[in-house]
Symmetry: C2
Subunit: 162 residues, 2 copies
């Protein structure tokens, strides 16, 4: 909420797309602008962290069926409006892709409290390309996420120092 000048917090989220801009994109892809769809986009717009289908559904408050949430996130992903992330817990999470960006970035996740921090660092492109060349691969991409224990959780478990 505060900290609007942070340089490293959520660089991609500084510019929030208005809902009308998002629905315009739906129109461009000749998809219908339905209640559930707008509600889902609005929920994603209002949240800074990747959300699970079930979380989106909960935030909606019975506004639509869970299956509809799943179906819409597939659609939005195919359209490139939304990006899927996998933190290895068997649950897909989604973020709105910011304007003029492919949404490629990574996260740092607290293994105790699941706090999520968006990260700017990325695997070096030159190394990735060398890798691809050496093994004869093309269209190379990567999945990268960091895990650790956040400051708060360290404080909780640390013995009180007088």
């Amino acid at each position: 909420m505060n900290n609007p000048c942070s340089q490293h917090q959520h660089p991609h989220r500084l510019v929030q797309q208005p809902l009308t801009e998002l629905t315009a994109k739906l129109r461009q892809h000749s998809r219908k602008i339905t209640g559930p769809r707008q509600a889902i986009l609005d929920v994603l717009r209002r949240h800074q962290n990747p959300m699970a289908n079930r979380e989106i559904h909960a935030a909606l408050g019975q506004e639509c069926d869970l299956a509809t949430v799943y179906r819409n996130l597939h659609t939005l992903e195919d359209m490139g409006l939304v990006r899927r992330f996998d933190f290895g817990d068997g649950t897909a999470r989604f973020e709105l892709v910011p304007e003029g960006d492919d949404g490629h970035h990574h996260h740092l996740i607290c293994t105790r409290c699941s706090r999520i921090v968006e990260i700017d660092e990325c695997f070096p492109v030159e190394v990735e390309q060398a890798l691809a060349r050496r093994h004869g691969f093309t269209e190379i991409t990567h999945k990268l996420e960091f895990f650790g224990v956040c400051a708060q959780c360290q404080a909780k478990s640390a013995p009180a120092v007088p």
Copy 2:
């Protein structure tokens, strides 16, 4: 099978642990040496790529129940004998951890044929540590996997050039 002098193929697999060494580790952890357990370890020993529970079970040929495979891989993972990998398809895969190594490495996976290549490259430690410091995280680790289209699959889809 061939290519025994390759420098970049499977660096960790050049020395294969004998089965007796593996069962010795079970004994060290005071776990029982059972038929299913030995069979599972032997299957992993014989395969160069990460295997899914179902694949291990199939390779066993009805030698034990699938639930037993799941339970044993948890046990072996807890013991540090085996390492879990996640390629984002909702299926856990496991590799034997080589002697005197923590088994930390990554893979390059063909998105068409699922061919898997073991990779030496890793995310730069200094950058990872800077990342942790900046966000106040400790005990930092990462998950990293590469995806692309392998040479064979490119050849299949490419138009024949005379």
